[in-house]
Symmetry: C2
Subunit: 232 residues, 2 copies
């Protein structure tokens, strides 16, 4: 019997209870900037359907976000639940192994995504989308940088055309962002990242898979060593 593989297969079947998991998803959407401050979340009924949980559970999750001031709800037609400008909260301490694990998975997923995206023939909408996200990230302030950065990286994952790869990247980024939130974000890092983003997107749009992979790998190694330096 393969002892090590069992750890993967016999891990817990549920990430948590439905409520906690729902909170986590909504937090992801907010922290990754998929729903930006001022924008509206899908309606409770729609979220319940899409997340596969009851509306009661969705409401409990939203209530807890309200209590932490992440969102505000308004009733009536054209009402809804709107995202506030939020202060990212810091994560609890992590083990070295966890960090290494998260970074390993991220590198595999994101370099693979960049290579795959570069190897596809992208539609004009996708090409435009990538350029827009790049522009957004490059003009972002320190406060909004993490969110804009995530949007760009998610856009790259989407450009692979694989929904499950996009989901995996989103989850992976969430894990890594928790770690990144605990360390300072400095202007020089930001400028450096922007230059790397530029290379990555250019390589993808030029249809150069190897260059895209290489550029993404360097980009990720930057933040990875930053993380290891600060947290270990």
């Amino acid at each position: 019997m393969m002892e090590h593989a069992q750890e993967a297969l016999f891990r817990p079947v549920r990430a948590g209870n439905a409520f906690e998991e729902t909170v986590e998803r909504l937090m992801q959407a907010i922290r990754l900037g998929v729903v930006a401050p001022g924008e509206r979340l899908p309606s409770e009924r729609e979220l319940a359907t899409r997340l596969g949980v009851s509306r009661v559970t969705v409401r409990e999750a939203i209530r807890s976000l309200q209590e932490n001031n992440y969102v505000e709800s308004r009733r009536g037609r054209y009402g809804g639940t709107f995202v506030n400008d939020v202060i990212p909260k810091s994560a609890p301490g992590k083990e070295f192994g966890d960090i290494q694990d998260a970074l390993t998975l991220r590198k595999v997923l994101e370099t693979g995504a960049a290579e795959t995206a570069a190897g596809r023939s992208l539609g004009s909408a996708e090409r435009r989308g990538l350029r827009v996200r790049l522009e957004e990230a490059s003009t972002a302030t320190l406060a909004e940088y993490r969110r804009k950065d995530s949007r760009l990286h998610l856009a790259i994952a989407e450009a692979t055309g694989s929904a499950s790869l996009t989901a995996a990247v989103a989850e992976s980024r969430m894990r890594v962002n928790e770690l990144l939130d605990t360390i300072p974000l400095l202007e020089p890092n930001l400028a450096h990242s922007n230059a790397q983003h530029e290379r990555i997107i250019t390589s993808i749009l030029d249809g150069d898979p190897l260059a895209a992979r290489q550029a993404m790998a360097e980009h990720l190694d930057g933040t990875a060593s930053l993380l290891r330096g600060f947290l270990v």
Copy 2:
């Protein structure tokens, strides 16, 4: 709001109910060969703890496996639930998009795993483990090939030292194996695969990440085009 990214974030929070998910996990362990025919599953109490479900749920899952003749249970000390020799069941029809999605994710994960494993300094136990799995796969009969093949690929994922990457590979393989079970497995494919496995493992043991990635990519492309040919 990023419409496409929402599809990933707002996907259902639970893969299914606890019972179905538990059945799925046990099936994975059996179909991937992590627990081989004749071997014993962990005890019900242990599975309940590790999977994070109640023993009642574990028992219901095991019962349904018994009814489908995948396992047999024996009472008493040194009893337990033992894996039978099973006939792989065929999967229901899939959409082309699903196939593409599964193959894209698999390629990203497994080429990344091969490269990462080759870039690490492996312990002697890990090196030996890889050689053993390679040997097992190369001497496998047609009937046991899929299982031995999966064991080898999982061993490569484990060699990255990343538990979450291993879990992702296991899940990905499960998806792809469902598809592979619907198409014939031929001797020539098998011989070809063995040669490729040899190259992959040699590259990993030699510490040559690029060669490992390259060899894995070619290996996966082989079955990928086979699949596309048969299923589309």
